[in-house]
């Protein structure tokens, strides 16, 4: 009787071990011959802007981003000006992902009625797995044309004087799920500058990043250093912006404080006239809304 019990016990144990062993064996069978795939890092930033400047992100292939950018007036203008609420510059923009590495965009700015258009391409994509890449590197180029009346109609004005360009390289890395950082050297070219002492080619070096405080909220900061001796006829400062990203599913809301009134690269990189320590701070927000234009082919059945 006792022996019978012992026998059953051992038999059942052996059976259980055998089943568990069999499952592990099956898992090993699945894992055998698995080719490593390249896993591209997604969502280094929540959207195509860190705060006011470009991030390495593009709209996904076939997706259109509608981006409304709004900067109020300076907070230090007092109650008479409702702390800046009475003024605003606005940019309405559209961006489209042609492929997952190439995007185009265009915008209309209330600042000097400027139209801008840009191309942005991913040169390298951060990845793990089969192919490892530590960084994402983007190239960005834009052209902006202001279309208000000539400031001085009496002189000979050329259409090309309305045109400015900006070029950027972006080096970004997503460090785990929380932290992303980006370094952004920029070159702005202006066909016409106010005085001969001002440079037509203006170099800046920027850095930005984000820290996620939850899956849907992050704190972002962005700084661009304007090297001295390039813009001399007007007093300008480095651009610094601090904001929060709130993602709600279909939208990303970015609410921020910045010392830059302008919204396209040429303005905030080289024409930032606000100074944080003076209280020349502008409250601003971006509303990002993504639309799927071309649906990817998802195979529904086998």
């Amino acid at each position: 009787m006792y022996n019978k019990f012992l026998f059953s016990l051992i038999f059942i144990t052996a059976m259980l071990i055998s089943v568990a062993h069999a499952q592990e064996e099956l898992m090993a069978l699945i894992d055998k011959d698995v080719q490593p795939v390249t896993d591209y890092t997604a969502a280094t930033f929540k959207t195509t802007r860190i705060v006011i400047g470009q991030s390495v992100e593009l709209p996904p292939q076939g997706n259109m981003l509608f981006l409304i950018t709004h900067h109020f007036g300076a907070i230090n203008t007092g109650y008479e000006n409702l702390f800046g609420l009475k003024q605003a510059t606005i940019r309405l923009g559209l961006e489209y992902g042609i492929t997952n590495w190439l995007g185009i965009g265009a915008g209309l700015n209330t600042d000097r009625n400027t139209w801008d258009g840009f191309v942005k391409a991913k040169i390298l994509r951060q990845s793990t797995g089969a192919r490892r890449m530590p960084l994402t590197i983007d190239f960005f180029a834009n052209t902006a044309i202001y279309t208000t009346k000539w400031a001085d109609p009496d002189r000979t004005n050329y259409f090309t004087s309305r045109i400015t360009y900006a070029f950027q390289l972006m080096f970004a890395r997503k460090f785990g799920n929380i932290l992303s950082l980006q370094i952004t050297p920029s070159l702005v070219h202006k066909n016409l500058v106010p005085t001969s002492a001002d440079k037509n080619d203006i170099f800046t070096l920027g850095a930005g990043g984000r820290i996620k405080v939850s899956n849907r909220v992050s704190i972002n900061a962005e700084y661009h250093h304007l090297f001295s001796g390039q813009v001399v006829s007007t007093k300008v400062y480095d651009s610094f912006s601090l904001g929060v990203d709130i993602e709600t599913g279909g939208h990303v809301f970015q609410i921020f404080l910045t010392n830059s009134f302008g919204e396209y690269e040429q303005t905030f990189l080289t024409e930032t006239q606000g100074k944080w320590s003076n209280g020349d701070i502008f409250l601003g927000f971006n509303i990002n809304r993504m639309f799927t234009i071309v649906k990817p082919k998802v195979v529904r059945e086998l």
Partner: protein
């Protein structure tokens, strides 16, 4: 005498798994479907790994969560970033068995009702599951099908209030796999 029979039994068991009838796929299909008042969301994964051992009933699944494809790229990003957190928990696995595997006769074509039980691991949470499905035997191949529901909260996947009408708390999972005899 008793010891001898135990040894023989153990040998038989281990021998059983050596000469196992193992079936495998790397291209199984899993669909998930969320039916919420404001939005219907579905995603498809065609790279589902699964293996079934007809001699023991052992049945396993391994699913790379990043391989789920959505119609909207943003949904796919949010699925991976905000819900299943696939950087932290890249796969969902199931380790279990077909409890009535003895009913399955590989030599006899037909549709067999099966019960599958085991442990499902998703988003770092392991829970027992027990679901019914069918396995069709056809010319030495197996075609498995099942449909069941997952409660997201069971796996600590939380839906924020703002999208409560866009994402269902219960997700319907459909499994459709064609298993071929494994090359041993």
């Amino acid at each position: 005498m008793q010891i001898k029979s135990i040894i023989i039994a153990c040998l038989l068991l281990s021998a059983g798994s050596v000469n196992a009838q193992k079936f495998i796929t790397k291209t199984g299909h899993i669909r998930f479907y969320s039916d919420a008042p404001l939005e219907k969301i579905e995603a498809h994964n065609h790279q589902v790994n699964s293996a079934l051992d007809l001699s023991t009933g052992g049945f396993v699944f391994k699913v790379l969560l990043k391989s789920f494809e959505f119609e909207k790229a943003l949904m796919q990003e949010h699925f991976n970033e905000n819900y299943v957190e696939s950087d932290k928990y890249p796969t969902a696995t199931f380790l279990g068995k077909v409890t009535n595997f003895k009913d399955l006769d590989i030599a006899k074509d037909g549709v067999y009702d099966v019960t599958v039980e085991g442990k499902l691991t998703l988003h770092g949470v392991t829970r027992p599951v027990n679901e019914k499905g069918t396995i069709e035997v056809k010319q030495g191949k197996l075609h498995g099908k099942a449909r069941f529901n997952l409660v997201l909260a069971d796996y600590k996947i939380s839906i924020p209030g703002a999208v409560g009408n866009n994402i269902s708390k219960t997700i319907e999972i459909s499994v459709d796999i064609n298993l071929d005899k494994a090359n041993m």
